[in-house]
Structures are given as structure tokens and as C-alpha cells.
Amino acid sequence: MLRFVATRLSSLVLSLLVASIVIFAVIEVIPGDPAAYMLGLNAEPSAVAALRDQLGLNGSVPLRYLHWIAGLMTGDFGVSYTYRVPVATLIAARLWVSLPLALFALALSTLIAFPVGLLAAARRGRPADLAVMGTTQLGIAVPNFWFAMLLVLIFAIRLRWFPAGGFPGWDQGLWVSLKALLLPAVALALPQASILARIMRSSVLDTLGQDYIRTARAKGMTRAQAIRRHALKNALIPVLTIIGMQFSFLLAGAIIIENVFFLPGLGRLIFQAITQRDLIVVESSVMLLVFAVITVNFVVDIAYAAVDPRLRRRR
């Protein structure tokens, strides 16, 4: 097991290294002078020169890369050009919205998808299954930002149950904050839940077709017992991968939903930074997201090994 973790860990570090080089390179290949690009067309030459200096653009490429990485390691992400505050502070503040939102949506998606997927698998071909398959087919096809707009129209504008957007801040009380996050979380979770439920269903059905389920039933188990005792744990293995991927999507892919609800989250920060050409914020926060994705995948790999003994002992 230790060996397994060690090899995974080394590949995690390698992935991070390559990813950081790619991100750095993308910013490097931006046509023209990054400082001029950031300041726009009518910038004073002196301002451009000052920014170049601040960005360390006068050093050699490898040196700048090392400087950037060293900064990331020590928590120094640079200073935002547009906001004029340290990027680390900016990101930390935004994470307090994005992270709870992502977790909220993930919890919703998983809580809906597991029982629904299981139900469909257990009732394969019957009305309940057809209903689930039909609904989820629709759920996958709905763009989440359009669904969000419909939610706003119904629950915020017509019924006035929830705010139409904005985030009051956690210091305004837990209930108010959760209320502000509920509609965005539902909008994010519904398409994800549809995908997850379908994967859950097909994964359970796949395992139900395995020989060991027949063995289990030959031991005297009912179909339901065989599902509970043998199919579930095996079916969970592919589902875990998807949950891992969904978490990273929810963290970063919430950009659009954050725009619909005017939430001050990480996605919106990146989006604004991109449109305002604040490359310092873009570079570091994209790297942070990639770090999150790779780390989550790492955790999923370890979770795999915990579920599947074949991975644990070999090697």
C-alpha cells in the first residue's frame, strides 16, 4: 500500500510540474509584450516599463519560471494588477464561496444520483427505470446556466423564495448564506446528478452480469442481497472516478453559474481577470485549479486502492 501511494505521489508531482510549465508557456506565447497587453493600447510607456519591472519580465525565461514556482510554493502568488491586492488574499476570499458551493452541489448530486441509479438498476426495464432514464436524458441535455435562469425566474422572481443573486458573506449568518447558495447548487447539481445516476445504473448492471453475482445467488442470496453485498462495492469503482472528475468540474466549471448569480467565486474571479487581462491572477489561479484537479484525482486513486485489493497488493 505504501509503495502504491509512493508511486502515485511521484506521478502527482510530475503532473504538477508539466502542468505548471504548460501554463507558464501559454502565458509566455501571448502575442506581444505581456505588460503592454495587460495595460491595453493607450498605456504610457513608463507605466509599461514599471509593470515589466514588477512582473520580473526583464529576467530570462527559466529564471522567471523558477521565480514564479518559488513564489507559489511559499504562498506568494504575486500582486493583482487590477485589484492591487495580493493574489493569495483574493483567491482565499473567493474560495470561501466556491468551495462550499462545489461541496454543496457535489453532495446534492451524489445524494440524488446514488439512490436513483440504484433504483433504475434494480428495476431494469420497468416503468421506474424508464422514468429515470428519460429524466436523466433530459437532465444531461439542459445547459446548467439556462436551468439556472429558469430557477431564478420561478423561485426568485415569481415566488420570491430565494434571492436572485449575490452573496451576503458568511458573517451575515449561516442560513442566509446557504439560502444564497441553494439555487446555484441545484443548477450545478442537476446535470451532474443525471450523469452520475446513469453511470451508477450501468455500473451496477455491469456488475450484476458478473459471474460472482451468480455465485452469490447460488449461495442462497436474493437479488437484493446480492446487489447489496457484492454488486455495490464493485460498482462503486467506476463511479468514484466520475465523482472525482465532477468535483474538479464543480470547482472550476462554476464560472458560468457564478456569472448568472453574481457570486464572488473563484470562477468569476478568473473570468474577470481574463477579460481585464490581469495575467498575474490568471496564471496563479489556473495553476491552483489544476493543482486541485490533480490532487483530487490522486485522492480518488488512493480511494480506488482502498476499495480494490488488486491494486493494493500487486507491486
Binding site: 503532473s15 508539466v18 502542468a19 504548460v22 501559454v26 501571448i30 436524458q137 433530459l138 444531461i140 441535455a141 439542459v142 445547459p143 446556466f145 439556462w146 435562469m149 429558469l150 431564478v152 425566474l153 422572481i157 472528475m245 474538479s248 468540474f249 470547482l251 472550476a252 466549471g253 464560472i255 458560468i256 456569472n259 448568472v260 470562477g267 478568473i270 473570468f271 481574463i274 477579460t275 490568471v282 489556473v286 485549479l289 489544476v290 484537479v293 490533480i294 484525482n297
Partner: protein, 273 residues
Amino acid sequence: MRVPRTLIIGAALFGMFLAAALLSYLWTPFDVTALDIAARLRPPGAVHWFGTDHFGRDIFSMIMVGARTSIAVAIVAVAIGIGIGTPLGLAAAARHGGLLDEIVMRGNDLVFAFPSLVIAILITAVFGPSALNAIIAIGIFNIPVFARIARSGAVSLWTLDYILAARVAGKGRLRISIEHILPNIANLLIVQGTIQFSLGILAEAALSYVGLGAQPPTPSWGRMLADSQTMISFAPHMALFPGLAIVLAVLGLNLMGDGLRDLLDPHLRRWRQ
């Protein structure tokens, strides 16, 4: 062989949008570039079937023209994915466990680690918002998808005896990949192609919703939704119809994908017999 019902329904739904897109080159009920402030924000009715927007443009006509953008962007993005991803996957599988295989697989993992929407936004923002850059941004993320599908399909085929027979007949890896492997993974690629097609339509809508897709005056579904947002409380029809267009087009493609899988998958077919 019976054609699955999902394929018929899906093809009909998607065919409707394809037909509308093609027809829009010849005819639309109204000119989508002509502004008519007097007729602004009309609800659906006999003249304007889906109503008008805040500039008085006909929403039905805009959806017809918008279908062009959506379909074109998604098709080219899928073509990029298949065109680059499939050869990569085939080459990796031809030397399964070799260095190239390792590099392709690690490269795939790496691309998957990047938040695709964020990178797409970055690409379109840096190189300027346009339909072309949206295509490139979406297409790049299709490459690893097809590389992975092609590789996993090819790897299982490479273990079959008919591949060994072809090698005994003196055929090289390239020729075997083209003659024996590619035709037999075409099913997988077609099914995945329809799925990526529908994801491409969703991604294009998202990008143009935030203003990074096709630029005005070219109508696009995502843009129409963005425009409708501030008017949703008093003109909900502006948000309803473009959204429904996206849902139905994507639904049609997904149903087509399911149907094609049932039709083409020899494993499933054998099981049903």
C-alpha cells in the same frame, strides 16, 4: 436488423435543426440583422412565432441562423478531436506498453487535469473572441477523448487472433491499424462522436453566453440567452426558446448516440439474438 427507436427519434430531432440551419441560408421568416424597435419584445404569436427580442428581431429566425453556428462549431471541434486523437490512439495501441503509449496516456491525463471551460475561456480571451477560437478551444479537449477511445478499442483488438494472422501474412503495424483496427473501432468513434457533438453544442452555448463565442451580429443560442437575462422577468419567451433549442438539439444527438450504440455494437447485438 431493427433500427432502435431512440435512433429514429434522435435523428428526427437533430435532423430538424440541421434542416433549419441549411434552410436559413436560403430563407428565414424575417431578416435577423434588421432591427425593428417598434416591434420589440413581442410575445409569441401568429406573425412572430417565437416572439421578438429587445431589438425587435424575430426569435424564430434567429434560432434558425443560430443553429448554423452551433452545428458548425461542434462539427469542426469533433473533426479536430477525431482527426488528431484517433491516429494518436491507434499509434499508442500499436506499441502497447511502449514509450509512445506511455506519453500519449500521460498527455491525456494532463489535458484532463486542466479545467476545460477555464482554458477555453483563456484561449478565446487571449486570442480574441470569435467562433474560430471557440472551435479550437473546444476541439483541443476533444483530442484526448478520442485518443483514449481509439486506444482502448484498439488495444483489445490487438490481442485477437486475426491480427496475429495478418502479421503472419507479413503486414506491418501501420497497415494493420488501417486495414483491421480502424474499421472495427469506427463504431466506437461514431458513438463517441455524437456525444462530443452534443457536448460541443453545450460548450459553444456556454462560451457565447459569456460573450466569447460568435460575435454579433451573428446570432447564436448562447448569446440570445445572455441578452434575455436582464429581461427575463417581463419577457421570459426570450429565454425560453433558445434554451429549448439547445435542449432539443442536445437531446436529439444523445438519443442518436444511444441508438447508434445499440445498432452498431456487435456485442450488444449478439446478446440480444
